[in-house]
Structure formats: C-alpha cells, structure tokens
C-alpha cells in the first residue's frame, strides 16, 4: 500500500507520521509542498505541525500551496486523504471538510491523552475496528471545532462526525471536552467519508513505551481496509 505524507514549511509531525505508516506496512513517500504532482498513492496524509508558522490563520497558507491542488483533485476523485491536527486545520481551509477550528476555549495549548468515541464505522478508516473508544493524544492550540447550525445539521444528517471527545467509558459529556469543540467533535469526514480530519494524533500512540497503543490498532486496521 502506498502512502504520501506532505511536508509543508513548518510541518513537524511529518517524520512521526512517516515512522508510523512504515511501521504498519505502508510504502510511504515524503512529498514537498512545492511539488505539483502527487505520487501514485492509496492514502495521502497532511501531518501536524505549524505550517507557515500558523501565520494568517492555522492551515490557511498551506491550503494554497502548490501540491494542494493535486491533493484536492485526489480527494474529489475518491482518494483517501487524512489530515491530523494542523492537517485537519489545512483540510477545513481547503473546504474539503466543513467547519473551522478556533482557538482552544481556555486559550492554552493542550498536550495530553484523551479518549475519543468512534461514531461511524462505515468508512475505510474505522471499518472493522473492534473498539469503540480509543485513547489517543492531542497537542494543539487551535482545536476548538466550530460550524454553523445549518452546517451542523447537514454534518449530522450525513453521519459526518468521525470521533467525539469522551471518557474511558465512551461517555460524551462537556467535562471530557478539552478545547470547547461544538458537540465534543474531535474529527469529521467529508460527505463521501474518504476525507478525514481529526485533532488527535494516532501516530503518537504506536508502541507500549509511548503514551499508549491505540494508534497501532488504528493503523493496522487502516492498512487492512485499504488492501
């Protein structure tokens, strides 16, 4: 299975994502933001970091970089595109997924483990996962998901909410919401469910010596679903 990780100026989880994808069997290539052509890929990942230093708005300048036109075309033709953290911020800026990511409610960067509840397994990302609650890691300053009421209705009608912040039992309550996201939303799909944007970092949870291993479950399952 072939994957591509895009490196923007200021990306800083690109290597971590490369390590994770290779660990679980992807043949991964790093792609420079200034390239035009996307290599032949089964999965394209927009990694975390601070592309363009978060200047203007998080993800906004990266969404206009050269490679992104190819990524957008790839997504529109049904290709799998996953944006993690800053990658999610870039995705909302391209319009591939609806909504925006505001500054965290308490105006502070948060780095910690969180639990997320999977809402929709009818997609390539989560199909066949035998767990409904994953322990993942967040590290962000702007992860407060927001959208209009109309958008929210549309998202809900189309089952586009991918993961919610919750506790270890999967209870979705405001007190388990780390950043003020509307409805505890931690990640969403596009309508077609081939594009996934989420704040938590599965690539930081890929061995028992790190924060946990639920990221391993995610990647193992993902590559099996793509095969």
């Amino acid at each position: 299975m072939k994957s591509s990780v895009i490196t923007f100026p200021g990306s800083n989880c690109d290597r971590d994502m490369d390590v994770a994808l290779k660990k679980f069997g992807f043949n991964n290539k790093m792609v420079w933001h200034n390239d035009h052509e996307l290599p032949n890929s089964d999965l394209v990942v927009l990694p975390g970091g601070f592309s363009y230093g978060d200047y203007l708005r998080c993800g906004s300048m990266a969404s206009k970089s050269k490679i992104m036109q190819s990524v957008i075309n790839f997504a529109k033709s049904g290709g799998l595109v996953m944006g993690i953290c800053n990658g999610f911020q870039i995705l909302v800026e391209t319009g591939l997924v609806p909504g925006v990511l505001l500054r965290n409610k308490y105006l502070e960067f948060i780095c910690k483990n969180v639990f997320v509840k999977l809402d929709n397994k009818n997609n390539k990302y989560f199909k066949n996962l035998n767990k409904d609650v994953l322990e993942l890691h967040i590290a962000h300053n702007e992860g407060n998901y927001f959208c209009t009421k109309d958008q929210l209705k549309e998202i809900e009608d189309n089952n586009q909410i991918a993961v919610y912040y919750c506790n270890n039992l999967g209870q979705i309550e405001e007190k388990f919401n780390p950043n003020g996201s509307i409805k505890n939303i931690a990640g969403i799909f596009n309508k077609e469910k081939n594009v996934l944007g989420m704040m938590p970092h599965p690539e930081r949870m890929i061995d028992q010596n790190l924060s946990g291993e639920d990221g391993s479950l995610f990647f193992k399952n993902l590559i099996n679903n793509i095969k």
């Binding site: 100026p9 230093g53 780095c111």
Partner: protein, 730 residues
C-alpha cells in the same frame, strides 16, 4: 557621534575599561567600534568576573567530546552517537517581556545546539518566580509558560522536564533557564573555529532589524525603576523561521560545504564573527552593505549590535556558495555572502565603500578585562533547636497536606500540559517524573535529562548548596535508571560587584566543582547570569544544573509510580532528621535560618551506584529520589502517580515521626521491590554498605501512616494538583 568617556559609560563600560580600549587602539574608537567593545566586554559575553573561577571546574572525562568553549558541550553516548547540550539564561528579557523573553531564550539555546550539527531532541527549563502573592507573579508565569510553549511547540521539539519555584527573592528578577539536547553523529559535529584564508563568510536566516540592540549589555546590568524603557532591548522571536533554519542548516551540514558555523546569539553579528575569526586565529572582513536588513537606513552600529533572532554565520569552502544558496532558497531564507576571512587578524567593517571599523581581534577577546573580584566567605550557620512542643502539636496529615499543596512541591501539570512533550514520538518518560527520557531514535538507547536548583540551600551555605544541586541532578538521573554522564550549568547570581554575591558565586562554583569531580560528572557547557538584582536586592544564589545520562536499554527504564500490591518499599540512605532549611521548617515552623543538609559525596556515589546496580539486575520496580519535602512527600507522589497506596511500618529510627518523615537528608531514594527479591537486594546493599530500611508494603488506594492516620489517594491528589490550577484561574 563623538566618542568620549561619557558615551562609554552609557554603553556600560567602566572608565578604566574605556581607557584600556583607547590604549589598546592607540586612538579613540569611533562609535561603531565602541559599540563592538561594549558588546564583547560586557559580563554576559566576556565572563570577566567569572572566568577565573570557572576555570576550576572539572570539564574532562572519558565520555566528554567537547567541553566548555563551544556553542554547547558534547558527550559520547556510544555507537557513534553523541549528545550536544547546554543550558542558558534569559532572565532579564523575560522579566521585561515574559512571552518574547522566554520564547527567544528557548530559540537561542536550540540554535546553540543545532549550530553544532545536532538535531534537537528534547527541551527542558528551570523557571523561578517571585512570591505567589506578588502582583506581577501570575502574569509573568503565564507569559513565560506561553513563550516557552509557543517557541518549542512550533519547532516540534518535545519539552520533557522542568522545574518551577517561587521565592520572594525573585520578585524583581525572575529566572528563565532553558536547556536543549541534540543528537548528532560523532563524526559530523560542527565547530565554530574558522580556518583558511579568503573563505566566503555567509549570512543566513532572518533579516537584521533594530530589535535587541544592546540585549547583552542589558543582561549585564541591574534593574531599576526605568525598567519599562528597556522593552526595545528584548528580541522578538519567530519559531517558524527557526524551524526552517534548522532544516536548512541540517541539510547543508549533510554535505561537506561548511568550514565553521556560529549562531548569532548575544551581541549578534559582532560576537559570532569575532569568535569564529578568533578561534581560527584569522581576520575577518565584512561588507555591511551586503547584510540583509529588515529596515532601511540601518547604521553600521545598529547592524553590528542587533540581536535579531534566527540568524547564522557560516564560513564556507570556496566554490560551495551555489550549493548552499540553493538549500536556503528552498527554505525561503535569506542567504548573502557578506565577507571573507583574511590574514589581518583584525575585524574590518566596510560600509558605503568606507572602512567603518578596524579592530585587532585579540584586543576584543584575549585582552578583554578579567576581574578577580573581592568576595566574602560564608560561615556555616548554627543548627536550630527544634521546638519539641510545637512539633508535638502538629498532626501529620495536616503537615502533609500543607507540604503537598505548597507552591514549590505541588504538581506543575498546568505548566507542562502546555508544552508539547510527545512530538517526535520518542518521549518515554514525560514531565512530572525524576527525569525526562527520550529514546535515541531507532535504537534501544535512551537519554535521560533533569534540571535542578536549590536556591534555599545555596543561600544558607553556598558551598554545600553547590554540591547538593549536582548530587540532586545525579540522583534524578539514577532514579530513572540512567548512568549519569555530564552536566551543564546556568549560574544565576546577583551583582559580582558586591562581596556577598560574589562570595555566593565563588563558593557555589566550588561546591559544584567538588561534587562533579567526585561523582565523575563533569561540566561540559554553561552560562553565567550576574546582576539578577533590582536596585540593591539580589536573588538567592541559584545555580541551575542540567544533568544528562544514558540508558543503554530503554526497557530497563524506571519510573516513580508504585506498581503492584504486596511489593515492598525500602529507603536507601540514612535518615538523620535534618530539618533546617527543609520545606517543613520554612513553611510549617516558619524557621528560615540554619544550615542546609550536609552532602556526603561518598554516600551519594555509593548509594547511587548501588541503586544502578540493582536496576541493572532488574530488581527495582519503581524508584524516586527523596528531596524537597522529605520521605513522606516522596512516598505520596509515588502513590499519586501509581494510583496505589502503602501501609507504612513504624520506623526503627529513634527520631520523632515528623522529623523522620519531613527531614531533607541527602543521598536517599525510595525503591519498590518484589518481596521475593528482598534477600538478594539486601545482600547487595549490605555488601556495598548502603544504609537501608524497609518502610512499608504497597496496598490499594490508601496511604496508611499509622493506626490513627490514613489518607486516601484521591485526597493526596487533590492536595497536590489543585494549587497551581486554582492560582492561575483566579
């Protein structure tokens, strides 16, 4: 502008120093030259008050590849890998402008590390604030934490450990010490020594602006009521540019184009160009018209003294300019050939086709002033008699609650949750333990790092305090199973022109030297920050020690959380009941006098090495060093972390229970072992003559101190975790 004595004094030079400059040059310097002298001769760059004493520190060892004198120290961590590390202060700017001051402190220390060819793999920091009741403390703390996070998070380097303290002596002078570790191949280390004639001198990174002019001079003076006027001397950081600079430099370093490289830190272009030429025994010629500037009409004086961030100076091999330029273009960074190396042994500056400065480099470096300042020796204070009747009335549970929730002991999670501590995917021990630990990517090895200071002990008796900080760093590394290798120090003191402050400096350095010599834990890099004082009031002497150690197989790493019911808990090291200068004495008894606990280096070494031996034999389940707050505080923290309880035994020790639990004798650890290993553990400890005693057994969720006193783990957590969050949200 005409240069005279008055102008020289405005530049922070003393009258004698100005006269010396005129004599060395055999003429009056022009204003640019005076600026250059003032930048090179200030305390921050010249170490004029400290270098006589720093020379005495042990700096060599089998594992030391590079000691002090380079951008950072370098140690060998086997298999061709090396760790580059250093700690540096950014105290003065952080008090004036906490966000930018702290951010650029982090940026500066990371540049020091990647200048040597190393990719930064971990950041640490030691930050000290005034009394929590002081009106400035909360905003300073928030600003500093945001600044450290803002820079380190954006760079994508995990912040893996730190230290925060509060003491009213920092009311007018906070301390911000930042430390970085980088990883490099032993045969790919870059140094700052220029070599060869007519080699192109290259400027890369951000453009030069008017920010930070005289930053180093500001850091070499005390504060007064006009401190707000100094805001323009604080640099403004841009971590995004630094991230690009890091990647571009490492890309260029992969090839063979670079002869030498130096970051533009304190005193910017001045010190970087002069240091490179001086080390290579060469001259350097710079055409200032070629320096990329952010603002128009900048004068030679401003260009040379600007401390704009994220800039590097490189001496390249001839003919490599195009290769290098291509890399910096790719990363959208400025690249300019601004000069060349010469055989004149002078620094020569050209501006608008005129020579605007011409100074023999040895006058700036070797001939810089050195002072053997007067200093006052400290006496060991007399021991206090503990008021038995006061202690008798105290309830252990109340004392424990007060100690665990005191600002200097309470959990600092509010702080470190704002730092990305997991990026790079190799952090195997997060902040909140004895040391932070990161794996060496792709190997079985891991590096542990700890940052410590004990200003109260140093204030009470500088010699003992100096020893203690080194010993504590050593213990913190051993507690996670790392073999200590070397240290870096950041020496924060008041004015060297005051005999008391200078005495504190001299004796702390002596203590650091003695301990590091004995423990074979050499000093490989460091920095001195004097003049941490407002008007006449100096801070408590605060030497910060950053220790680094190696774990050869990270599967053997130890954490401090209690692991399993029925396991036995032992104390290594003898408890004598030393209460003076303990947190208990200061917060509960309100007793501020007396000597700090004695540091017995033989015991430190013996106890530490014996514990490492036990760890290596897989006999240790958890370990934690006993420091601030004594035995019971250490145990409570191990309970909180592990969500486990302990049933304590009545100690055979004859001293009073409170003294036993809260005294701060040195050289002690708490360890958890499996009961089946007790015999073997005891045998090894007895053989090595390590004092030890069994103190309890692990149970569920309750700390049972004696028949009458029990505390649930949830209670302990609430004591420990709430103070800082509540304080910051008020």
């Amino acid at each position: 502008m005409l240069v005279n004595e008055k102008v020289a004094i405005e530049h922070g030079l003393k009258v004698d120093e100005y006269k010396k400059i005129c004599n060395l040059l055999n003429r009056t310097p022009n204003i640019t030259e005076l600026g250059i002298f003032s930048a090179m001769w200030n305390e921050h760059c010249s170490y004029k008050s400290s270098k006589l004493h720093l020379k005495k520190l042990p700096t060599k060892g089998k594992k030391v590849i590079q000691g002090p004198g380079e951008n950072a120290g370098v140690i060998d961590v086997e298999d061709g890998d090396a760790i580059v590390f250093k700690v540096e202060s950014h105290n003065h700017p952080s008090f004036i402008e906490p966000y930018q001051g702290a951010a650029t402190g982090v940026g500066g220390i990371m540049r020091d590390v990647f200048t040597m060819g190393a990719r930064p793999i971990a950041n640490l920091n030691s930050i000290h604030f005034g009394s929590p009741q002081h009106k400035k403390t909360k905003n300073l703390l928030r600003g500093v934490v945001h600044g450290i996070g803002g820079y380190g998070n954006c760079m994508g380097i995990p912040t893996i450990a730190g230290q925060t303290s509060f003491d009213s002596s920092y009311n007018g002078n906070i301390l911000v010490n930042a430390m970085t570790l980088g990883l490099v191949k032993k045969n790919k280390i870059f140094y700052s020594k220029a070599a060869g004639l007519n080699k192109p001198v290259i400027y890369v990174g951000s453009k030069t602006g008017r920010d930070g002019i005289h930053g180093a001079s500001m850091a070499s003076a005390s504060f007064d009521e006009k401190i707000e006027d100094k805001k323009p001397t604080v640099q403004v950081g841009d971590p995004f540019t630094e991230k690009l600079l890091l990647e571009a430099c490492l890309e260029l370093m992969a090839g063979d184009s670079i002869i030498s490289i130096q970051d533009m830190g304190a005193a910017g272009l001045t010190s970087s160009s002069i240091e490179m030429a001086s080390k290579g025994n060469l001259g350097i010629e710079i055409n200032l018209d070629k320096v990329p500037c952010r603002e128009s009409k900048m004068t030679p004086y401003e260009i040379m003294l600007s401390e704009s961030q994220e800039r590097m100076l490189i001496v390249l091999e001839n003919g490599k300019e195009d290769i290098a330029k291509k890399i910096f273009d790719k990363w959208n960074l400025d690249f300019a050939v601004i000069g060349k190396t010469t055989n004149s042994k002078n620094i020569e500056l050209i501006f608008n086709n005129e020579k605007v400065a011409n100074i023999p480099i040895n006058n700036l470096v070797e001939n810089s002033p050195t002072y053997d300042r007067k200093w006052k020796k400290s006496k060991l204070p007399k021991k206090n008699k503990i008021k038995k009747e006061v202690v008798k009335k105290l309830k252990i549970k109340d004392v424990l609650k007060k100690v665990l929730s005191s600002p200097n002991v309470c959990s600092k999670e509010w702080i470190w949750q704002q730092y990305d501590h997991t990026v790079m995917g190799d952090t195997i021990q997060k902040p909140g333990g004895d040391s932070g630990v990161v794996r060496i990517h792709g190997t079985n090895k891991a590096v542990a790092a700890s940052i410590d200071s004990s200003a109260v002990y140093c204030w009470a008796h500088p010699l003992t305090g100096g020893k203690q900080v080194v010993a504590e760093s050593w213990r913190n590394l051993i507690s996670v199973g790392a073999t200590p290798i070397a240290i870096t120090n950041c020496l924060n003191f008041g004015s060297p022109e005051k005999e008391e402050n200078m005495g504190e400096f001299v004796e702390c350095v002596q203590g650091i030297g003695e301990a590091s010599e004995y423990l074979k834990f050499p000093v490989v890099s460091g920095n001195v920050s004097f003049y941490n004082q407002t008007k006449d009031v100096g801070i408590k002497p605060t030497p910060t020690i950053g220790g680094v150690g190696l774990i050869k197989d990270y599967n053997k790493m130890i954490t401090m959380n209690f692991k399993e019911n029925d396991n036995l808990v032992l104390i290594l090291g003898k408890t004598e009941g030393h209460i003076d200068q303990s947190l208990f004495a200061r917060t509960i008894l309100d007793e501020k006098n007396g000597p700090p606990p004695e540091v017995n280096l033989f015991n430190e070494k013996n106890n530490g090495e014996s514990l490492l031996n036990l760890i290596d034999k897989n006999l240790i389940k958890s370990a934690h060093d006993i420091s601030l707050g004594g035995i019971l505080t250490a145990i409570a923290k191990m309970c909180i972390k592990g969500d486990k309880g302990i049933k304590l035994k009545r100690s055979k020790n004859l001293i009073n229970e409170i003294e036993y639990f809260f005294s701060e004798d040195q050289g002690r650890y708490i360890i958890e072992i499996n009961p089946k290993d007790l015999k073997e553990v005891t045998k090894i400890l007895n053989k090595n003559s390590v004092h030890h005693e069994e103190i309890g057994v692990i149970i569920d969720k309750e700390l049972i101190i004696n028949e009458k006193t029990k505390v649930t783990i949830d209670e302990l957590k609430s004591y420990n975790t709430n103070w800082l969050t509540n304080y910051m949200s008020k």
